[in-house]
């Protein structure tokens, strides 16, 4: 059924269609509308049987999901930003225990300075936690990925994060096609756990493992993630056959074949990028777009195959590894090892800064002209940064960084006026 609804509501509808049995929630912007909608659906009986638990922290939210999943229930939670970091210990624990929990990440920056707006720092900080990570490009895909996520998680007995851009997607009203319960039921079978806490067949879960077997346990976790590289395309294919539209997969190509410059990105910025690329292609530019849909496991081979003939790769990332550079670009360079394709990192949209078509067009023209640096920051206020750095060289003082920067930027904006 077509509906004009908020992204969060669409995700809640998708989760409801997946018949979750335990939902645990702790509110954090911009995830709140998802769990609010779900609480309503449980209250009205639209999701039934289901236990909805308001917990005291994100650490508890995922811990409740861990207990529920281990006891055989389909468990769901959602979080973002500081919340994901607050539950970090349980994030690793859930994957280590092999529990197929599905969690929405309404992607948001991490403080300090505190910032409630979108970037991918949260998911990226936990990229090596053993969870599978899927990134949605728009609200339809966010909805569709949740349905795939439960199937994927339960097939591999691994937890899955469905990452969607906070505010940009969670709070955007768009037309989405909500499938029928019968269709979702035909795609997603009931959860059949590999092992549960059952008095009739007692098992010990979560024993201590020492040096004699720990490496093997980790190897098996890796092997299971690698199975996802085969399973994700299969599930996406099955999904498109069942639902009549494309969603998910490892990567998605947009005019990548035969072009010189390929822009690589993940999440909602892909729409803006494609618009700009369309314009440049109209002028005859040799440029295309590669969307990363699955960040964990990272599809090294699929990316390499798609980019083998590219002359230049530009990675637009909404996150930043301080002291190192691009996180996604790093994986790209690994994919392209030995191919000698220049790979540029562009850090963009941190803390909710809009990534505009104007800025992207300027960036892509610079790239097409061969003038793009290895690492650059879209729309960086270089003047403000330089003034702060100059000041720091004069006055050596430790402490929080934000105030000085905010003052500088405020001063700069006053000067402009």
């Amino acid at each position: 059924m077509l509906k004009q609804i908020e992204g969060s509501r669409a995700v809640a509808e998708a989760v409801a269609l997946c018949r979750p049995e335990v939902i645990c929630a702790y509110p954090i912007s911009p995830q709140t509308h998802i769990v609010e909608a779900l609480s309503e659906m449980v209250r009205t009986g639209d999701i039934s049987p289901c236990e909805y638990i308001n917990v005291e922290s994100e650490f508890a939210a995922l811990s409740v999901a861990i207990g529920a999943s281990a006891a055989g229930a389909r468990a769901y939670t959602a979080t973002a930003s500081q919340g994901l970091l607050f539950m970090a210990e349980a994030v690793f624990n859930a994957s280590g225990l092999g529990l197929p929990i599905v969690m929405t990440i309404a992607n948001r920056a991490i403080g300090a300075p505190i910032n409630i707006w979108n970037d991918h720092s949260d998911s990226m900080a936990l990229r090596d936690s053993g969870w599978l990570q899927l990134f949605a490009e728009n609200n339809q895909e966010a909805l569709d990925l949740h349905i795939q996520a439960f199937k994927l998680a339960e097939a591999l007995s691994l937890p899955v994060m469905v990452c969607m851009d906070g505010f940009i997607l969670t709070h955007a009203y768009e037309r989405v096609d909500i499938p029928s319960q019968a269709l979702v039921d035909s795609y997603l079978p009931p959860y059949e756990p590999r092992q549960i806490l059952d008095p009739d067949d007692p098992v010990s879960i979560g024993a201590m493992v020492g040096p004699e077997a720990f490496t093997e346990v980790r190897y098996l976790a890796h092997a299971r993630q690698l199975q996802a590289l085969e399973l994700i395309p299969e599930l996406a294919m099955e999904f498109s056959q069942c639902f009549g539209r494309e969603a998910g997969g490892l990567i998605s190509e947009y005019h990548v074949e035969g072009v010189d410059t390929v822009i690589v990105a993940l999440g909602s910025v892909l729409g803006t990028i494609k618009d700009v690329v369309d314009g440049l292609r109209g002028e005859g530019a040799s440029i295309g777009v590669l969307a990363i849909k699955t960040f964990r496991p990272f599809p090294l081979d699929a990316v390499r195959e798609a980019l083998t003939n590219a002359k230049r790769v530009v990675v637009i990332e909404r996150s930043f590894a301080i002291g190192q550079g691009g996180i996604v670009a790093d994986s790209l360079r690994k994919s392209l090892a030995g191919l000698h394709i220049p790979t540029h990192t562009v850090v963009a949209g941190l803390g909710g800064r809009p990534i505009t078509t104007v800025s992207l067009e300027r960036l892509f023209r610079t790239a097409l002209a061969g003038d793009l640096a290895s690492l650059s920051f879209l729309d960086l206020d270089q003047g403000a940064v330089d003034r702060v750095l100059a000041h720091e060289r004069e006055v050596r003082r430790s402490g929080p960084l934000a105030n000085r920067m905010v003052q500088e930027i405020a001063r700069a904006s006053i000067r402009v006026e």
Partner: protein
């Protein structure tokens, strides 16, 4: 018809011999049908109070639920000594997740059981004092506040024993630990700090809170049996002496637990819906130094010279408990 009250006890133990009791009154441990929930072969130290308390508590719960229960365990000695992969001592469905989340994991298990319509399967969570009073306290308070259907049992040995005897918020004043060394004029653990979790549990107005010790295992069993049949959040706080951390002889575990209760340092009581409903009276009151003297963690109070001021402070704490919980007959 007149009655004469008869007290059965063996010298020094006050334990009623099972053979003198009716079948129904005998301990769960005395029956051949006991579950051996925490079976032999685990790696606890000799004289471990926690292993003893956990075995009695779990077997009592298994008995009371007719083996329909799930156990969630916080990280700590109990978890480590019972489940070195690929071995396990647990004969119950048992799960360990993290140090600080056992109450929340138990909430999740209870939610799953409820949604699956398995209301007869009961959930027990357990941890040491560090996992309960410190790192797991947020999750525990949340579980209490929501009145989730979980019985939580804390085995309190008054410090982080698993990591090598560091101070916890359940460590008593003056106790020497690896992080509260008794050096120079320092008294070991500070006076005026720490928390008594049973009272905090009561402040949540949960249906049942009780304390127990391994000195009176029949009482522990009875409280577990009482608690397991109630619905909602329940809490039992069990004093379990640790020979290693307390610097005491392995054969003194029970004696130390008894001296802690008979001195008033550890009150034994029950509370329902936030109000104390019953307290176990002291039979032979002893001064606190009888408890303190047997432990190396308090040796600085006696050597090189007697620290009467600090011992008096500890005695005042015991006296306050005796008054507060009306522990004298």
């Amino acid at each position: 018809m007149s009655f004469q009250s008869v007290r059965f006890y063996q010298t020094g133990t006050y334990t009623v011999g099972n053979r003198l009791l009716d079948e129904a009154q005998r301990t769960v441990q005395a029956t051949v049908a006991r579950a051996n929930s925490l079976t032999s072969g685990h790696r606890a130290c000799q004289g471990c109070g926690e292993a003893l308390g956990a075995r009695y508590a779990m077997d009592a719960a298994m008995h009371a639920t007719e083996r329909q229960m799930v156990v969630v365990n916080a990280t700590g000695c109990l978890e480590v000594f019972s489940t070195p992969y690929p071995e396990t001592s647990w004969q119950v469905p048992w799960m360990h997740s993290l140090f600080g989340n056992a109450p929340a994991v138990a909430t999740g298990v209870a939610a799953a059981l409820r949604v699956k319509g398995r209301r007869n399967v009961r959930v027990v969570a357990q941890g040491g004092d560090g996992g309960t009073t410190d790192i797991g306290f947020g999750c525990l308070s949340g579980m209490f506040e929501r009145n989730d259907d979980v019985l939580y049992i804390c085995y309190d040995n008054e410090a982080y024993m698993n990591t090598g005897v560091q101070r916890s918020s359940a460590t008593p004043a003056a106790a020497h630990t690896a992080t509260t060394p008794a050096m120079g004029t320092a008294p070991g653990n500070e006076f005026g700090q720490g928390k008594f979790l049973p009272e905090i549990a009561m402040a949540h107005r949960i249906p049942y809170v009780a304390t127990a010790s391994v000195a009176d295992l029949r009482d522990l069993e009875a409280k577990v049996e009482e608690a397991i049949h109630l619905r909602g959040a329940r809490y039992i706080h069990v004093l379990v002496p640790c020979p290693l951390g307390w610097g005491a002889a392995s054969h003194d575990t029970i004696r130390l637990a008894r001296l802690a209760t008979e001195s008033g340092l550890f009150p034994i009581f029950e509370a329902r819906n936030g109000e104390v409903s019953d307290a176990r009276t002291i039979r032979h009151r002893v001064p606190v130094d009888e408890f303190l003297r047997l432990q190396k963690r308090f040796v600085h109070l006696f050597e090189p010279k007697l620290d009467t001021a600090r011992i008096a402070q500890i005695q005042a704490h015991a006296d306050r408990n005796i008054k507060r919980y009306a522990l004298l007959p």
